[in-house]
Amino acid sequence: MKLKDKVLIVEDEQSIGNFMSTVLEANGFDTLRAATGAQARSLITSHCPDLIILDLGLPDMDGLEILREVRAWSSLPVIVVSARTHEHDKVRALDMGADDYVEKPFGTSELLARIRTAIRHTRTSVGNADLAQTGKYRIGALTIDYDKHHVLVDGEDTHLTLNEYKIVALLGKYAGKVLTYDYLIREIWGPMAKADNQILRVNMANIRRKIEKNPAAPQYIFTEIGVGYRMLGTE
């Protein structure tokens, strides 16, 4: 029998917690529930869940506090649930190490897809990050060849520049996951680069014109407004 993944749901709204745990259990997960930050803390250390779904608005503390504590000792995947207030909150959570976020109100299929992506990523890339940068990533007609530093569409080379390739390679490595503008800029242009999104936008526009059939109806790389970019995952 397949071992079930254990998901800790940290959510103070009873009805939303109920709905999430019902959906997750129906889809082959074990669930734990915590309604407060203090409860979440003790459950995380005593049960070691495989993934945490974390609502940021908790009655006793800021959800980001829990995220910070978890990240101090573990890379266990955390998906943040946020009410739509401002993009800054999501960006902050992602930059503090959250694996992904879902925005309230969210659909069940979206939630499940995010959970699967997050769990898969910790299984495959953490611990052997170098290994993930070799081989090939294929999605649809797109192939990223990490060995030859090529990106192919329908078998044809797309002639990306070096920086364009780096961006696509990075998005491909974390396919299915949103990468923030700041993260991409830091990774590609280095920590001293000005926090200016313009250059990233322009590179991205060029990439779209090279790999997408219609740059305004992308199939592979999506924009999360105010947050960053996400490459289509394998699901």
């Binding site: 999104n197 936008r201 526009a205 740059p215 305004a216 109806a217 924009t223 407004i225």
Partner: protein
Amino acid sequence: MKQREWKSPRREWRIADAALTVGVLSAAAVLRLLLYRADPGDGYVGLLFVLAVACVARWTKGYFWGIFASIFGVACVNYVFTYPYWQLNFTMTGYPLTFLTMLAVSLMISAMTTQIKKQEQMRRETEKETMRANLLRAMSHDIRTPLTSIVGNTAAILENPDAFTPQQQRALLLDVNEDAQWLIRMVENLLSITRISDEPGGIEKEYEAAEEVVAEAVRKFSKRFAQPAVSVQVPDEVLMVPMDATLICQVLMNLLENAAIHADGATGIRVDVHRTGDMACFSVSDDGCGIPPEKLETLFDGTLPDAQRGASDTKKNMGIGLSVCRTIVAAHGGTMSAENLPQGGACLRFTLPMKEEEDVEAEG
């Protein structure tokens, strides 16, 4: 970064006020020196400075500069311009009265101008309040219908678990789901409005690639509506447009939904972005039934004639969605228009300026 930009106009104002005060007082002093040649008497000196003080009180913000000018003016007049020259003397007959008058005039004028400014602000606040109250009333009215249906449908299933076939239950739940989705869209529009009014001095704009925002809007729309199909056309040139991308995404989604819900018989929606001079022009057109000519005029007002309002299915009332569009576009300094296409179907357009207007922001 944003924070610093925010504070500077205020400091500039303070510097401007100080400069104005100094300027007016020196002008008065220079005038006095020029007049001294024509008439060495000092009967008019006090009046001259009262005028200067009145000007300062009228044109600067708050009480500070008016009071400062009157005290400084009194001291200056006493010390320099009236007998005995170059010493302070408040004891000679008539002097104390003159100086008290100056102080009183300046205080009164400062108080009055400040009060007028406050009243003006209050009037504007009241207007905003009224607008908000009207919107709230319209919203609550519209929100009640789907809520009633949600409560009714779920209660029906909960209370009579065996009375419905699975197909019937599914139909009821589909209605609940659709109504809840409608509520979500309504709330998103409400949030957009609060987002505009929360930001002091307008909205927070950043240069965004128009194609990214359009793509995102279309993607979100297609998740909710399988039909009609959307085709998108963007120019080869990357259009970087200063905007609050979340809000513009909301505008595009509202326009797309408007087409999906109202354009009966539409088989496709076309989104087009192009550049006209200094403006980025976005359009959403469909091949459906078009907009009745009598509605074209008031399409973006958010108001429908009472007769229509009562009769129409509230779910089909996109008035609020479109008026939110107009509010957002106007806050960006753009314009909005609607027309029926000669080949049939409707086309809703909006434009956004491609350049940030710094001075507009400073004024706000």
